[in-house]
Symmetry: C2
Amino acid sequence: MQQETTRRTNRERSEETRDRLIQAARRLFVEKSYAETGTPEIVREAGVTRGALYHHFADKQALFAAVAEREARAVAEEIERNTVGSPSATASLIEGGKAYLKAMAEPGRTRLLLLDGPAVLGRSGMDDIDNRHGNRTLREGLQAAIEAGQIRRLPLDALTGLLGAAFDRAALAIDAGADAADYQAGLAGLIEGLAPAS
Amino acid sequence: MQQETTRRTNRERSEETRDRLIQAARRLFVEKSYAETGTPEIVREAGVTRGALYHHFADKQALFAAVAEREARAVAEEIERNTVGSPSATASLIEGGKAYLKAMAEPGRTRLLLLDGPAVLGRSGMDDIDNRHGNRTLREGLQAAIEAGQIRRLPLDALTGLLGAAFDRAALAIDAGADAADYQAGLAGLIEGLAPAS
DNA sequence: CTATAAACATACAGACTGCATGTATCATCG
DNA sequence: CGATGATACATGCAGTCTGTATGTTTATAG
């Protein structure tokens, strides 16, 4: 039989369709925005029909969640790959921050994860994604630094949130054309300032 | 003439209609969200028609911008009212931060200004509003603290953005039910840590 | 090879946005 | 004060979108 090329297992069919939808949606959500991208346009770009979309995803929002989830995972992996163990805990934090900013420089990530994400999924929804992937690293880094006595003993969750927000803001500003060095300096200043009072 | 009650100048008519629209929109944008609120519902709540809405505002987004602008102004005024001159510049920053968090505790403000705002108007659009109202105070406070030698000399705009983001994050977390004291402590730690290295 | 389930396609109902056109109310000027 | 123009608003319509219900094809189990 020559149509073996089209003969695929169900798993493969689903996998590919989901993948095409997520990739097409990512392209359009980044180029325009979540709100200004319609599902007809997404499925056209993906080469499937809206039936397929609504078979695999509960609604447009669920498709966005899949896009965001994949993106957050990619960021986390990229950081883990580009980061090596550092001597001091604070230095490790600063280095991790640099890796985060570099990963977030990939076009579209700030819009997906920092602008549309919180609005579409709510802050709690984005927190769930963050905690599954990226933020965990930051929290563990801070905890290690605190227990190593290199950072003042402050409420861990709050500190994680506050520093994470600062990093997010830096990523946004840099993406908007601000001077990266300025923000790197500001972040380093904030982190170093957390050293125990002398 | 007994219908003098309905005899109003054009200015008054417009003023009241705009006001009713902005207030109704605010209520609904807060209760649900910008995306899930339709213009038919807004005008019903405001007691006018969609014609009036589209006469006064270019589109739904422009109406949201008006709501956000008014809210940002209210926050700025509330802070200015509740804040008194402090001895040290850093203490003044911390006090201003407390006033900000208190103002942002007004229901709906975090959603309007921190979640939907950036997504609907873009970060640059929200920055415009912020710079017209709130953020200016923070920048000036930081500048004063730097020139008074109470805070390390770091890039002013970057530092303003980073600390502002941390405050925003605190407001969101507190609104979501987190312990306010934890975040206050974290913020105080961040600010105090900016003191020049001893 | 048949039956069943999964994957996808198509058709449709309801709702919404923005605009175009119509009407009422106010302002201006001779 | 009366007519003319402008402003404020109302109504109707076209196009589009989302989610669902129903139909069809493809894979899998027995």
